[in-house]
């Protein structure tokens, strides 16, 4: 049986990605950070699908915590076949007023976490001679976005990292790809002022926001056998919002 580890998986998009990969038959490692997150509920829901699941608490911005998480994953399930780098935060603000800690926090949680997780998962994947790494980028990592210099830098960083690592370890049958969502309908975007929301949706050729399922479909595809010849790719899932 294959194992998938999803960072930031106790809630939001990460939770849906975990559930979707459970549907595909993977045993799941639910990484989470805060005790108040419903990681136990996520694990219980995954187990209902007939696969195994564990939750591991780790701050993915911390090198040694991630090392311990990967070790525990392999000790528990025997392998790490799919790594989904999903954990991320925003600290939006205009550059001229942005606090240094808000830049650093976003880079550490969004980008350094990808280094940490790949750094500690890749040695296992090299030994297995197979692996799939999928990192969540963003449309703003490609297009840029005022008010998000920190966030878009972290996401563009993930794209460069993805392409470089894909070149490095392709010979070991490990694929490394990114998914770049556009405007995804979530409780956060539902809370936007109606006019702003309509403006964004009107600028999308497919005339709707993305769903979490749209994102999960892309991740499940890149994890699947059908995507075995795809590496170093950034898969935009944005309704044509940016091409």
């Amino acid at each position: 049986m294959s194992t998938a580890l999803i960072t930031g998986a106790s809630r939001g998009i990460g939770r849906e990605l975990a559930l979707r990969l459970a549907d595909e038959g993977y045993d799941i490692v639910v990484n989470y950070l805060f005790e108040e997150e419903d990681y136990a509920g996520t694990v219980a829901e995954i187990e209902k699908k007939g696969v195994k699941a564990i939750a591991i608490k780790a701050d993915v911005s911390q090198f040694s915590e991630v090392e311990a998480m990967m070790k525990q994953t392999v000790e528990t399930f025997g392998s790490i076949d799919v790594l989904v780098n999903n954990a991320g935060i925003t600290r939006d603000g205009l550059l001229a007023r942005m606090k240094e800690e808000d830049f650093d926090a976003v880079i550490n949680v969004n980008l350094k976490s990808v280094f940490n997780c790949c750094r500690h998962a890749v040695p296992y994947m090299m030994k297995q001679k197979h692996g799939r790494i999928i990192s969540m980028a963003s449309v703003v990592g490609l297009s840029g976005q005022g008010g998000q210099t920190n966030y878009s830098a972290s996401k563009a960083g993930i794209i460069g990292f993805t392409k470089s690592l894909a070149k490095e370890i392709g010979s070991r049958n490990i694929t490394v790809n990114a998914v770049a969502p556009g405007f995804v309908e979530t409780p956060m975007t539902d809370a936007m002022p109606a006019k702003a929301r309509e403006e964004v949706l009107g600028s999308i050729p497919l005339r709707r926001g993305g769903t979490v399922k749209d994102i999960a479909d892309a991740v499940a595809f890149l994890a699947s056998e059908q995507a075995s010849y795809i590496t170093g790719h950034v898969l935009s899932v944005n309704g044509g919002m940016y091409m």
Binding site: P123, M126, K127, E168, I169, R172
Partner: protein
């Protein structure tokens, strides 16, 4: 003993006959690239319980044997 174990690890990893590996073999002559070297070093670290910090300076089997002897 150290040499035999190293030769065995290289032979396994590179799928070459252990008899084709000698103390004088350079990694280049064995067609070991940088990524192969990373994998070999990981196995050696596990086998000898050492940490190899500067693998890029090691050019031959003899270098590796000496490194393990000095750091074990």
């Amino acid at each position: 003993m150290i040499y035999e174990k190293i030769a065995e690890i290289i032979s396994d990893k590179m799928d070459i006959d252990v008899d084709d590996i000698t103390m004088d073999s350079t990694f280049e002559s064995l067609e070991i690239d940088s990524l192969d070297m990373v994998e070999i070093v990981m196995d050696i670290e596990e086998a000898f319980e050492v940490s190899v910090e500067d693998a890029e300076n090691l050019k031959s089997v003899a270098d590796l044997v000496k490194y393990i002897e000095d750091n074990k």
